[in-house]
């Protein structure tokens, strides 16, 4: 037992590192002068260390703390993605004028950020229903605070309120569902649950309700229609940096947890490794629900995005739509689908962050979030304009950008699994999505700027960050075998 604990702790180092970072951040915030910068640097350092530790885990496949958490390729993949997200968010935050002006005690902001990341690490690894719930709540609760961190702003306050009410209810659904599931199966870790289900349970009705409630819980996290309502308002109200974080990292973490939960507890063990496709434990056809939800999400989100005037809302809806695209992968019940999802998420991270970062820079310089104010931007700052154009085009899924690859893989997997109607809907939605992405591009380039507004100058730092985001978006578009390889090898979870 003892050495198991020790062993586990050894495997748990990254998370520990994060905790240390958290503490360090608090301390730094207390003692250091001129806090904002320094705390940020401390957190950056901590994240870097964590990254190293995570990279050491590549290839491991263990379950630690008596089946509380799994350290397996799947988890590692997502940890890396989340760390990248975290790093960029911290960098963004250092550049954000919004935070400087409207947020007090910026140190806590970074602390909370670290906390969220920690929670996400748990989410991607958790194999115990209780821990899943705890991780879920840990991220949520700190997110509530972050969303309202610029509390002097009305919109920020409103956002946090909506967020917490909606979030709390959803977590209520989740825990209620879990309670039923746990009760029926008598096991708290998902392996136990699976074994019980494979044995067959009599209370099918209860099982169904439990499943659906859990799906609802997850759906809120990954913004699936009709459980997405909070997202546009919160994304709109929250500080751009946090919006970015919610739109990318927390969504990705949610997906990771969802995938693991369903793949392990609702799928016949041993059915996976052989052929890529899974067989469900008898009874629950949850993937049909997901299919419908995915289609609904894709269509609704794209349609609602059409007329948005505020760029943040636009991107909010676009990110909801993308959640729908990603969800398609889980419907397929195949490792191919999962790997496609992972590829999509990894790429989505970069392009979406890029778009949001441009939005942030624009609101830094011009102090606006209205699409109409983007007119002539391409002429006032060609670099910014081109970068934004590339990110949007990538989001629309044009070659030779990475966004195209993401779509290729998710669509391909869907076709291969024979879900033609689903992919047809997705294709149609893609066309619709072009409208609103291009609208922004049009404003930036096809409209000449007014004489009054001069050129927009970027500082080298922001430029560097933009370039850092552009490189993967373009590079993965023309040479994507690394990411594909990695994803394909990262679908294996402990216990399959």
């Amino acid at each position: 037992m003892a050495e198991h604990i020790v062993e586990s702790i050894y495997r748990f180092l990254p998370e520990i590192a994060l905790t240390v970072t958290l503490v360090a951040a608090i301390v730094a915030d207390l003692i250091l002068k001129e806090r904002n910068r320094n705390v940020a640097w401390v957190v950056l350092g901590g994240l870097a260390v964590t990254a190293v530790l995570v990279l050491r885990q590549i290839g491991w496949s263990e379950s630690i703390f008596s089946d509380m958490i799994a350290v397996d390729p799947f988890a590692v993949f997502f940890k890396v993605v989340l760390l990248v997200a975290g790093l960029f968010i911290v960098l963004f935050s250092m550049k954000s004028r919004e935070l400087e002006h409207n947020a007090t005690r910026i140190g806590e902001y970074y602390m909370l950020l670290t906390g969220v990341i920690f929670g996400m690490f748990l989410m991607v690894g958790a194999t115990n229903l209780l821990l899943m719930y705890l991780a879920f709540e840990l991220t949520s609760i700190s997110s509530y605070v972050l969303a309202g961190f610029t509390k002097s702003l009305r919109k920020s306050a409103e956002a946090s309120m909506k967020y917490i009410i909606f979030g709390a209810i959803s977590s209520g659904f989740l825990i209620y569902g879990i309670s039923l599931l746990v009760g029926i199966t008598g096991a708290t870790d998902i392996y136990g649950v699976r074994d019980a289900l494979q044995g067959g349970v009599e209370q099918q009705m209860a099982l169904h309700i439990a499943t659906i409630m859990i799906i609802v819980g997850f759906s809120y996290k990954i913004t699936v229609v009709p459980f997405h309502f909070w997202a546009p308002d919160v994304y709109h109200g929250a500080p751009v940096t946090i919006t970015t974080f919610l739109a990318t990292a927390s969504k990705i973490a949610g997906f990771a947890m969802m995938i693991r939960f369903f793949k392990i507890s609702y799928v016949e063990s041993g059915s996976v490794v052989a052929s890529g496709s899974w067989e469900l434990v008898e009874g629950v056809q949850w993937n049909v629900i997901l299919a419908i939800l995915a289609a609904l999400t894709i269509m609704a989100a794209n349609l609602m995005a059409l007329w948005q005037e505020n760029i943040k809302r636009l991107l909010a809806f676009s990110s909801i739509a993308h959640a729908g695209f990603i969800l398609m992968g889980l419907v397929l019940l195949s490792d191919e689908g999962i790997s496609a999802m992972m590829i999509y998420m990894a790429i989505y991270l970069f392009m979406n962050m890029g778009a949001f970062y441009v939005v942030m820079l624009v609101s830094n310089k011009l102090d606006t979030e209205w699409i109409s104010d983007y007119e002539g931007l391409g002429h006032r700052s060609p670099f910014l304009g081109v970068a934004m154009a590339i990110f949007l085009v990538a989001l629309a899924g044009f070659p030779p950008t990475a966004g195209f690859i993401a779509k290729v893989y998710i669509f391909g997997a869907t076709i291969n699994a024979g879900w033609i109607w689903l992919v047809a809907v997705a294709g149609l939605a893609t066309v619709i999505s072009l409208y609103y992405y291009v609208r922004v591009v049009r404003n930036m380039f096809l409209v000449d700027p007014a004489e009054s507004d001069g050129p927009v100058i970027l500082d080298s730092g922001s430029m560097t960050i933009l370039v850092l985001l552009l490189i993967p978006v373009l590079l993965l578009g023309v040479y994507f075998s690394p990411i594909v390889e990695w994803a394909k090898h990262s679908v294996t979870m402990f216990g399959m």
């Binding site: 709540e137 409103e158 309120m161 909506k162 209810i169 308002d233």
Partner: protein, 109 residues
Amino acid sequence: MVFPEWLAEPGLNHFLVVSAILFSLGLLAVISRRNIIMVLMGIELILNSANLNFVAFSRYGALSLEGHMIALFVIIIAAAEAAIALAIALNIYNRFGSVDVEQISELKE
């Protein structure tokens, strides 16, 4: 005094039914009440209905002590959530001068 037959021997289902009712009430409260504090109450109800399940299951169902333990955790979470929620509610009051959920709807469409 004589209990009706179906209440004579309280079992798992009774608790489940009660928790279901609790849950629904909580949901109702959240949806219908204007005052943010009341909404938060509703949330508490929901969480506790879940707790009731856990405890009931570990008393009657296959679940052993884990049930109680989970319930404890949930209570803690609920507390934390409530704390944050109240803070936010306060901030809302400062900004909007009201805690009426209906009126706080500037972000829309």
